[in-house]
């Protein structure tokens, strides 16, 4: 339902609520992002009505909101002043949003358009993005973007160890052949060597000030690949040589994101990369059942970044599997911010950290609205989940780089 308050002919602002009064939370992100893209200013009211947005009252924005079914309320300056006073008095804050970030998604050119949750979310919200893959990354194209997303890519070059189960399937063979062709073209001896180089470029992207958001298996394997620049962690089926027997001790976690003291899974027959993932969904006997995770509440005024990343109209969200579903707490570096975790479980779901001049955010799992996601399953239709709290976490990440930097972060 779109709410158009009457008697507001003189309104100067549009308030886009993000609590249960909002009929389409996901499209509201797109409305705000595109307002910024078109040169408008916006504000993010952290912890106010589920993380509401303040936009200028423009006919075009009203039109877009109506078309997308995004609820909004017209505000005059008097009403806005009351809201600002309320925000100033509580654990809330108003963050200026200045510029729509340039977004890139790392994915092969032939991948199905509905294959990862971020692509789904951006397409549904109407947020433009570019796609790039190994050749572009190695060529240095990451410098053109502010925000990079990775999904279930295996940066160890072992194709998620699906070789045993799917080696004869056409899609797997094609994927492997394409990756090998790229590796040869870029003068790498094999796929693991190429993926390591790609991972290193991504590390440099963050170090120089980029925002990186990863989900599913990309979280774990990107960190592994960066830590393993000088170690062979790929099985012989991937690069012709066995995993270095002392790989665990040779991993350099100082240069990587998020983790420490990780134990690699050396067996090519076990569909797991390491003990980073708490759920081990593809390993019979180790697989843990799904629970629900809880978002932490942060101080909006003193920790605005973490607060922005957890804006939601729900604080408890049902969990969902992915190649990497969660992050074992014992492997998380000190100093990493845990944004969400399952109460009583030895794993976290949602992490954030600074690195160099940039930052990274990891969200476990594949698709917040498809908890069991199997290969070949039908894609998620987000028009059936316009208020998905799990997808909101993804879209928080898209808008947070738009925020004007504040020196207050703890």
């Amino acid at each position: 339902m779109v709410m158009l308050l009457p008697a507001m002919a003189g309104a100067q602002h549009l308030l886009v609520p993000m609590d249960d009064d909002q009929s389409n939370q996901l499209k509201a992100y797109g409305l705000t992002f595109n307002a910024l893209r078109d040169g408008n200013k916006a504000e993010w009211f952290i912890n106010y009505r589920g993380g509401a947005y303040l936009l200028p009252d423009l006919p075009d924005l009203r039109k877009r909101a109506t078309l997308d079914g995004v609820s909004f309320e017209a505000l005059d300056n008097g009403r806005l002043a009351i809201i600002r006073a309320e925000i100033a008095a509580g654990n809330m804050d108003a963050i200026s949003l200045e510029r729509a970030p340039k977004i890139a998604i790392y994915k092969p050119s032939k991948s199905p358009p509905w294959d990862d949750a971020v692509t789904l979310a951006l397409q549904y919200a109407g947020i433009d993005f570019a796609s790039l893959y190994d050749e572009e990354v190695v060529a240095g194209d990451l410098a053109k973007y502010d925000w990079l997303h990775l999904h279930h890519e295996d940066f160890t070059g072992q194709q998620n160890k699906l070789y045993l189960g799917f080696r004869d399937t056409p899609w797997f063979i094609e994927q492997r052949d394409v990756a090998m062709a790229s590796a040869r073209k870029l003068n790498f001896p094999n796929i693991p060597a190429m993926k390591k180089a790609v991972a290193e470029k991504m590390r440099q992207f963050v170090e120089r000030g980029g925002f990186l958001f990863a989900m599913c298996g990309a979280t774990e394997t990107l960190s592994l690949a960066i830590a393993a620049q000088q170690v062979d962690i790929a099985g012989s089926f991937a690069d012709g040589t066995p995993v270095d027997e002392a790989a665990d001790s040779k991993l350099d976690w100082d240069r990587s994101f998020g983790f420490k003291d990780v134990h690699l899974e050396p067996s090519p027959f076990v569909n797991s990369m390491s003990d980073i993932d708490g759920h081990q969904v593809n390993v019979p006997g180790r697989r843990q059942p799904l629970g629900q995770f809880t978002l932490f509440q942060f101080s909006a005024k003193f920790d605005p970044v973490s607060s922005m990343l957890v804006q939601n109209h729900r604080t408890v969200i049902p969990d969902y599997y992915g190649v990497t579903t969660s992050f074992t707490k014992a492997t998380i570096k000190p100093g990493v911010t845990i944004l969400a975790q399952e109460e009583g479980a030895p794993w976290a779901k949602y992490l954030h950290g600074d690195y160099g001049k940039g930052s990274w955010t990891y969200l476990g799992g594949h698709d917040p609205e498809d908890p069991q996601h199997n290969i070949g399953a039908a894609p998620t239709d987000l028009s059936l989940h316009p208020s998905s709290p799990g997808y909101r976490l993804i879209l928080n990440n898209v808008l947070f780089p738009a925020a004007k930097k504040k020196p207050l972060k703890t």
Partner: protein, 591 residues
């Protein structure tokens, strides 16, 4: 427990344990004696303990049944007693007590598959995984080269959702026995549970060759195969050599996945044989239950060709054809039955013939049947035939003869009233039609259109509207479209509705320019009417189907922005998403 099991079957410990079990059984007998004496149940003395136990269990008295079952254990055939005890102990929460009993019996019959299965089932039910593994290993040791331990344990694990554990057990079977057909069904279930759909299909095909009763299990298991992997499953079941059971499974799957027509294509390729013909007949019934009438007709016709003496197959085929709207086909199928002079179903056949003729508007021939061959129809059949005749006259445009047919049939039934209400509508008597049709529970498109019109206008008499409905009933869609649009000029309070009906009729007759003209008129001249939003949505759908996405988007956006209070806005937003490509295709309306 551990020490007891450790001594089982060996030396004095084993013998002592068996003596203990014997004492338990004796104690059970004593309890029964007390119970029988106390209850004084008449006739129980003549019934065996097992029958008494079954009676008590059926009466929900599991606690009383248990001692009697225990008493029956010593009988020649202890199977019923063991299974009864398993059920009753489970009911009263005492499954633990099964374990020592089964252990004692296994000491005597270590290879008995039933006892072994009960033991495994009990242990799994009690969540004693380690002990279940141990019991499975003992069974394997007792019955080397026997697939039963692997099959039963894997099946039990699958039933509790432990597909990965079942996988381990079945891989063990392959190592120990080599791949065996006896385990194909368990492999198939395990593979389906793990999402290995094509491998599961291969195993199901193999299983169906030795276990025909597994067909339904295969269909159930594979019906949830994701769209993108169904082609692989099709290849497995469709592969040479053509096998009836594999084709039956695939036909059922295709019926669920796509349509009964696709299913029939798969099954019709099986070379004819007694079994194949029976499979076609069964498939015809399945297609009927899916309301795939013409597919059902084809299956029955194919079966009838190989069973020429079974004329009921042709009657079934004709019935399906008629229900599917193929009156001419139904008549053709009935001809051999009529020619045979078979009187066993003469009444049903005559009524079918009447209905088929009515569908074709051949009222004069129905009158001839009623005059010459009404006898087998009976009183009720004659009444039905006259009602059908009235509809046939309506389709011929002769309302006077239609009324006469109703009168000749005797009238007075609900169906007569319904036909009379339609006759009133066709004559333009909207007041009578409104009263008559209000009582109908019919939901056909024609009734919905008629009721919508009657609720939109206050007019009581409008012959041109009736004439338009009559033309529509006669099947002349284009002329009906023209007349509905013309009546909009005179019946002004229902003008937007009549224009929309006209536009839809033009569209269904393929004349989209006429439809577009009317939609434009609705949007321009009747923008306050609810039909304006409907016209916009219909127009957008037409453009999208024609590949004009930009045009469709423009209309959908106009609808959403202009008719903000319309109930069609959510639907328009949904179709706007699909047109923009911002949600995956394939699930939307109008896809």
């Amino acid at each position: 427990m551990a020490s007891r099991r450790g001594g089982r079957g060996t030396g004095d410990g084993g013998r002592a344990w068996r003596r203990g079990v014997a004492r338990l059984i004796v104690a059970g007998v004593a309890l029964v004696g007390v119970s029988a004496a106390a209850g004084g149940q008449e006739g129980s003395a003549t019934k065996s303990p097992l029958v008494q136990a079954l009676d008590l269990e059926s009466a929900g008295k599991c606690r009383e049944a248990i001692p009697l079952y225990r008493q029956s254990i010593g009988a020649d055939d202890p199977v019923g007693a063991v299974l009864g005890l398993e059920r009753c102990y489970s009911q009263v929460g005492g499954s633990e007590a099964m374990l020592p009993l089964v252990d004692s019996l296994l000491a005597l019959k270590p290879r008995d598959p039933l006892l072994r299965t009960v033991q495994l089932r009990t242990l799994i039910g009690l969540r004693r995984g380690t002990e279940a593994d141990r019991a499975f290993n003992q069974w394997m040791a007792a019955s080397p080269r026997d697939p039963a331990p692997f099959r039963e344990y894997a099946r039990l694990l699958l039933e509790t959702g432990r597909a990965a554990a079942a996988d381990t057990v079945l891989r063990g079977a392959v190592s120990a026995l080599g791949r065996t057909r006896d385990l194909a069904a368990e492999f198939a279930q395990m593979q389906a549970a793990l999402g290995l759909w094509v491998a599961s299909a291969t195993s199901w095909r193999e299983a169906s060759e030795v276990m025909p009763y597994m067909e339904q299990a295969a269909v159930f298991s594979l019906s949830t195969t994701p769209d993108s992997l169904r082609e692989g499953v099709r290849e497995v079941f469709g592969a040479s050599p053509v096998a009836l059971r594999a084709r039956r499974i695939l036909a059922s799957l295709e019926t669920r996945w796509r349509s009964a027509r696709e299913g029939w294509l798969v099954l019709s390729q099986v070379p004819p044989s007694d079994s194949a013909v029976q499979a076609w007949i069964d498939f015809g019934a399945e297609a009927e239950s899916n309301e795939s009438w013409l597919t059902a007709r084809d299956a029955y016709v194919a079966a009838a060709a190989h069973r020429p003496n079974d004329r009921m197959l042709l009657v079934k085929a004709a019935t399906a054809a008629l229900t599917g709207g193929e009156g001419a086909s139904a008549l053709a199928l009935l001809q051999p039955v009529l020619a045979s002079g078979d009187s066993s179903a003469a009444g049903a056949v005559a009524l079918l013939e009447v209905r088929a003729l009515a569908q074709l508007g051949r009222a004069a021939e129905i009158e001839r049947i009623l005059a010459e061959r009404a006898g087998p129809l009976g009183q009720s059949g004659i009444r039905q035939a006259h009602q059908t005749l009235a509809w046939a006259w309506i389709r011929s445009g002769d309302l006077v003869k239609a009324r006469a047919a109703l009168i000749a049939g005797g009238g007075g039934t609900d169906e007569d009233s319904r036909v009379e209400a339609w006759l009133a509508l066709y004559e333009g008597d909207l007041k009578t039609a409104r009263a008559g049709l209000r009582r109908t529970d019919e939901t056909s498109r024609d009734v919905v259109t008629a009721m919508a019109l009657l609720s939109r206008t206050r007019a009581e008499y409008a012959p041109p509207v009736g004439a338009a409905f009559l033309v529509l009933a006669r099947g002349d869609t284009a002329e009906a479209a023209r007349q509905f649009a013309a009546t909009a000029e005179t019946l002004t309070d229902a003008a937007p509705f009549l224009l929309l009906v006209s536009a839809r009729l033009w569209q269904s007759s393929g004349d989209t320019p006429q439809a577009v003209q009317l939609w434009q008129r609705l949007i321009t001249d009747h923008s306050d009417a609810p039909e304006a939003a409907e016209a916009e949505l219909d127009w957008a759908r037409l453009l999208r189907r024609a590949g004009d996405t930009a045009g469709a988007i423009a209309h959908l956006e106009h609808l959403i922005l202009t008719y903000t209070q319309s109930a069609l806005v959510p639907q328009a937003r949904r179709e706007l998403e699909l047109a923009r490509g911002s949600v995956p295709p394939g699930r939307g309306v109008d896809e």
